[in-house]
């Protein structure tokens, strides 16, 4: 279960809880579901297979099916569709091509963390009524954006569901989600962290902006802005347009790394919890960052208007780093080069060292301890 917990915040700043997400209410169910789910892994033995237990609690579930591993996941877009709807009303443009990419990125960028090649996606588009689908411009943008993202990642779009759920999905809205299935092949590509250790380099890949996490906060903030979503974050770029920059798709990078002979020891998709996701792996190491990527204007803007200090900003938002690869030190510069060749900026931004489990962001003087992230 991947519902996740930001830490509470206080003071005059705008916290995640104020923005409407209360994880304390979700957590008991999540824990019960995780326990029940874990107890079902034994069923695979009857089919001659077994789960890869270390994938429980990671971003995708992995099963050993003999010649390779099978990985699968379901992920939803979350509330970013509400921003697209608001901006549509303000500008007349459809942003559904962009949020189609976001939705696929949520699934694909998680799936690849385990070393999987994404093969098939399924679309789940649940609208609040049949009328949703009658808007040809918006529907066309959704289909086109979904296909372009599939093309970019080399995945087959297998099909999906387009239900009209009157009374369940809110009128005029749509709940966008994607499932993704892939394989880890050869099996040596499995990157659940067994090889992660001191000396490894931490390579950060750029983000395009907020991606699809932190949107509850970003939407709440609009109430404080003089021109709402049309408030410029920099000349010629509105807050709404900046928020709707689509999430980068990182599977072209991970596939190119494989072709280049580089197998990451671990990978983290930097989504909810921001940089605390660098602490995702349960192993006890210190993660030391000596270089922070440039912060996208929209994230600087959010930090400033939400009055977050760096600690809170980096604990909530991706702050310019959308994905982290943990690779052998010798592979660090080549990893950066491979990413750049895919059109994705990258930085050999830090390394793993022996010590207490913590994340140290040296340029900002921030530390997050072992208690900063509770995902399991």
């Amino acid at each position: 279960m991947s519902a996740t917990h930001p830490t509470p915040s206080d003071g005059a700043s705008l916290s995640y809880e104020q923005a409407g997400v209360n994880y304390e209410l979700i957590d008991p169910l999540k824990v019960a579901a995780q326990r029940a789910a874990a107890a079902t892994g034994v069923h695979l033995a009857a089919h001659g297979f077994q789960e890869v237990a270390a994938s429980r609690g990671e971003s995708a579930y992995v099963v050993d099916v003999g010649p390779f591993y099978l990985a699968s996941i379901v992920e939803c877009l979350g509330s970013k569709a509400l921003v697209a709807d608001e901006m549509r009303a303000l500008t007349g443009q459809s942003y559904y091509g962009a949020i189609a990419q976001d939705t696929l990125a949520m699934a694909i960028n998680d799936l690849i963390t385990v070393g999987a090649t994404p093969l098939v996606v399924q679309a789940y588009w649940a609208a609040g009524g049949s009328e949703w689908f009658a808007d040809a411009q918006r529907a066309g943008a959704l289909v086109d954006g979904w296909k372009r993202a599939c093309d970019a990642c080399g995945v087959a779009w297998g099909g999906g569901e387009t239900p009209a759920l009157v009374g369940i999905v809110a009128d005029g809205r749509i709940d966008l989600a994607a499932s993704c299935t892939g394989i880890v092949s050869p099996k040596q590509r499995l990157s659940l962290g067994e090889r992660l250790g001191p000396g490894d380099a931490i390579v950060l890949l750029e983000s395009s902006g907020i991606h699809a996490n932190g949107l509850s906060l970003a939407r709440k903030l609009v109430e404080r802005l003089p021109q709402g979503y049309l408030t410029p974050v920099e000349p010629g770029l509105s807050y709404g347009d900046a928020l709707l920059a689509p999430t980068l798709l990182y599977s072209p990078v991970t596939e190119a790394l494989f072709k280049a002979g580089i197998t990451p020891h671990y990978a983290a998709n930097i989504t909810g919890h921001g940089w605390r996701k660098l602490l995702r792996h349960p192993a006890r190491h210190t993660y030391r960052i000596h270089q922070v990527p440039p912060v996208p204007p929209v994230l600087k803007f959010i930090q400033q208007h939400a009055r977050h200090d760096d600690r809170e900003a980096y604990s909530t938002l991706n702050m310019g780093a959308g994905f982290a690869l943990f690779v052998a030190a010798d592979d660090a510069e080549r990893t950066v080069a491979v990413a750049k060749a895919c059109g994705v900026k990258a930085w050999a931004a830090g390394h793993v060292e022996p010590g207490l489990k913590k994340l140290v962001i040296e340029p900002l003087g921030i530390e997050f301890g072992d208690d900063a992230l509770q995902l399991r």
Copy 2:
């Protein structure tokens, strides 16, 4: 895309369109999505794989990954959760264990039609707010029911998403969906209909009631009932309780058939469109039914109160047959016996013969022609 079209109805009866689903609005997007999706199958070649083209338009998408086929799907429960919510208010009971099984059945019963063994499911539970999850009785029933259904089908519950989607999912509601991944192994189990032909027997498996299709109609009907959901459909059984009988899970039957050495030539999950789903395969054969299973009381009740003739009832509801297996004539009686050994009643109810593409339900004097079902 598996949104599907009931035929229009007219007169004093209560039609599917009157019940709130307008497929004419959904169809253009569905067709555009199907075309775009079909164009992405070529991507698999770059990974050394290929799609099984015949699975486009079938209930699950199939990819040839070498040693076996990979099958995947995403499916949602639809509006049955609204019945559970209404009945909770009336009786104080939680029906979420039952609808958890329904949700998994929607995915698993579709996946097995291609000959796949379901291996992994992912849960997608999108609530209208964090508060939804705070109801421990309901949340516990959902988790327990989900796990029991996984246990019954021998699938591993890999994980999932439990987002709180304020403003997208209606307040107090939940959108339940499941993705499922399986394999067809050995590859000879693939049942996309290549071997379907005249002489084959049609074995029907019993349903438990309405399952999870036709609920819009069933809910609309409540307005006509004197005691609403508490109106008895038979002594001691309310309409609401009868509607909430969980969908039967058919994968234990298909797995037992494999162990018994029986490979169906084709299979159809009888969901939306009722018995017209027997016409699902594109091949041009006549499907002749000589025996109809007993109709569950709740479906008789709906037919009577919606004033549907047999033609309309069998074209919309499962009418007692939840799943159809097309097997070699010599395997028919053994197929029935294997299903019964799994606790599922079954009937060698008809056969395939040469002729125009149509379904003939002899005992009822009904025919559905080739134009009765347009899924592709």
